[in-house]
Point group: C2
Chain length 372, copies 2
């Protein structure tokens, strides 16, 4: 696998750069580990010792009809772990409508009908590139872990039931996270496609060891749930104020899922990050999808991002969480951070090295002898 | 070199991702090609069809004394070429003083005493990762090419002599660029270290086929020069208003090199980009070097970045260049762009494919079957 043989260095330190697969990442990162890593990393972030660079999206025509090319990047560094991460997504994106909902859907146009998302890990003590891997598995794990921490620090201690809206790639990780931080006994799942939600319920039930009941209406999933989780790819509201019950914890993986009136009704609102939206750079000949994207972010206009408590401050106790079992709490995972990939990536890199996973390439391929 | 054999796809299209070296990049990118590629790319940028995401720097302690870890990134996409680029630098940085000048110096702490800077190229029509390469050679070529375009569109047509301040890695590319756009017959070079400037003059003379005279004072380099090029790594002023002569073209590769009074004295001032500084994210326990960095950018406070003409607009004729042979013109390459790496990268990728250069890795290693 290694073209020119692994180079040895006196003492310790990597002279190979690992190329890992999603399978490798999955083997190296349990939801419990991901939550632990993020909890500690958020404490560093709250103290200002860790840093995050807000996500940016470059949007241009892709050459395929209305589909756009999106080059997305986000960075973060955790000095305590000695790790910096850059996450890059290189996507062909469309915005199809289904019923009344408009969704953002990536099209797998890379060879073999594949998607392109990468995480690059660097040493913050030597600068060295440590590993390159696809972002898919880590992406859902870190989204799940953040919402899991929202539940850990906001939901009732005795929360037992979850109602989830959505049955896709993200929904599975959301349920893993809920089960990692509370003793969940009952899960109901709604999504618009009956077949899809049934298949999701069967598969996820067997993985979690908890029966998941697919239901035909969102209200059935939500009624009497201790924890409501939104895990859709909708950019329209899917949860409404009229569905709120006392003591509920509301959880959302993107800004527009929960109706503004419902957000305002919550006694405690915590968001993931104070950045209100990604940094967009859009070509002048792009119009339609910018409207769609900006519509999504516009739904957040009612939130004062600068004054709303963030997850990192909640974790270290700088802001107060739930004060009674009747309070309605709400966590909105409003925007992802490159920083999360540094935290989860540190776990994956350490375990992959221990287990000898991945393709080893000479680090020299990714370093240079000139001062750039 | 290719672990699992190159995968063939029906029809055309890449299913291997190239890992290129600085040597490969050097073989594939002449200064003339780089200038041509950038000139065309700037026209796309001026029209708003190409997009650039401003450079960001994450700065945290490196664990080595006062040295910082800097994770820098910048992105750009040129739909016309079907290329997106992300450039990443993962550096250990120090700010030593030499005499009265403070410089930003990277420390090669990667294995083998190497630096870490990467360019990743993606297809904007399929999303596929096309190539990964170190940034060193391309970095100096694109800096040179931008200042070369400044000369092409601002200096007198009959400019024959260059005075250059600096004798480092960047200075060589600056002279290559000047010679690519004007019939340069005489070059004088000043830098503080006599041995270094002599060695630089010898080496670069033989490469360019033009005699370069090393001189002991900056004034000797500048007197009667048609074109003055600043190519230092100083973050203090190195060129002063009192040195200006009628008809001169002033060229600078970073903001602080030319004294503000000299900038104001120029009849035509053009900058590289309207972004006045990188997007900095700095850990709270970092103090000293932030002061150094911010000092550099503060020197630009006298420039109205939003109203000053930029190179892209000059190239397409949207703003006027030199109006007479007596005017003093000034181009400040105030901040680099990820966009430049997309333009130069497109040339390198095409020629590397044609020549069969680089290590071929399966593109599957960098793509995935999950919707991230």
């Amino acid at each position: 696998m290694l073209a020119s043989g692994p180079q040895k260095r006196v003492g310790t330190g990597a002279t190979v750069t690992l190329i890992l697969s999603n399978d490798d990442v999955e083997k190296c990162l349990s939801m419990r580990e991901c939550i632990e890593a993020l909890e500690d990393a958020y404490a560093e972030l709250s103290a200002g010792r860790g840093v995050n660079r807000v996500r940016s999206d470059c949007l241009v025509p892709s050459g395929h009809g209305d589909a756009l090319y999106s080059l997305k990047s986000m960075d973060g560094v955790i000095p305590k772990l000695g790790i910096g991460a850059v996450r890059i997504d290189s996507d062909i994106v469309t915005w199809p409508k289904r019923g009344n909902s408009m969704r953002r859907v990536k099209v797998p146009t890379a060879a073999g009908a594949r998607y392109v998302g990468l995480v690059l890990l660097f040493s913050s003590t030597t600068g060295e590139p440590l590993a390159i891997m696809p972002d898919g598995v880590m992406q859902r794990m870190r989204v799940g872990a953040a919402n899991g921490l929202g539940i850990k620090f906001l939901a009732r201690e005795d929360a037992r039931s979850v109602g989830i809206l959505g049955s896709g790639w993200q929904a599975g990780a959301q349920l893993m996270a809920a089960c990692a931080v509370r003793n969940i006994e009952s899960i109901r799942c709604f999504s618009p496609d009956a077949e899809h939600r049934s298949a999701f319920a069967r598969l996820t039930s067997s993985r979690l060891g908890i029966e998941i009941v697919p239901v035909a209406q969102p209200e059935e999933a939500i009624a009497a749930a201790d924890i409501v989780m939104c895990a859709s790819n909708s950019i329209d509201n899917i949860f409404f104020e009229r569905w709120i019950e006392p003591g509920m914890h509301l959880s959302s993986i993107k800004l527009p899922e929960i109706e503004i009136a419902a957000i305002k009704r919550a006694d405690r609102l915590v968001i993931h990050t104070r950045d209100d939206k990604p940094f967009h750079v859009v070509a002048t000949d792009v119009t339609v999808p910018e409207t769609a994207a900006s519509k999504g972010w516009a739904l957040g206009a009612a939130i004062d991002f600068k004054k709303t408590p963030v997850l990192a401050d909640l974790i270290v106790g700088a802001v107060t969480g739930r004060r009674s079992r009747h309070e309605v709490t709400c966590f909105i995972n409003n925007l992802g951070m490159g920083y999360q990939f540094a935290a989860a990536g540190a776990v994956v890199y350490r375990k992959a090295k221990e287990s000898g996973l991945g393709h080893e390439l000479p680090t020299d391929w990714f370093t240079q002898d000139v001062h750039p």
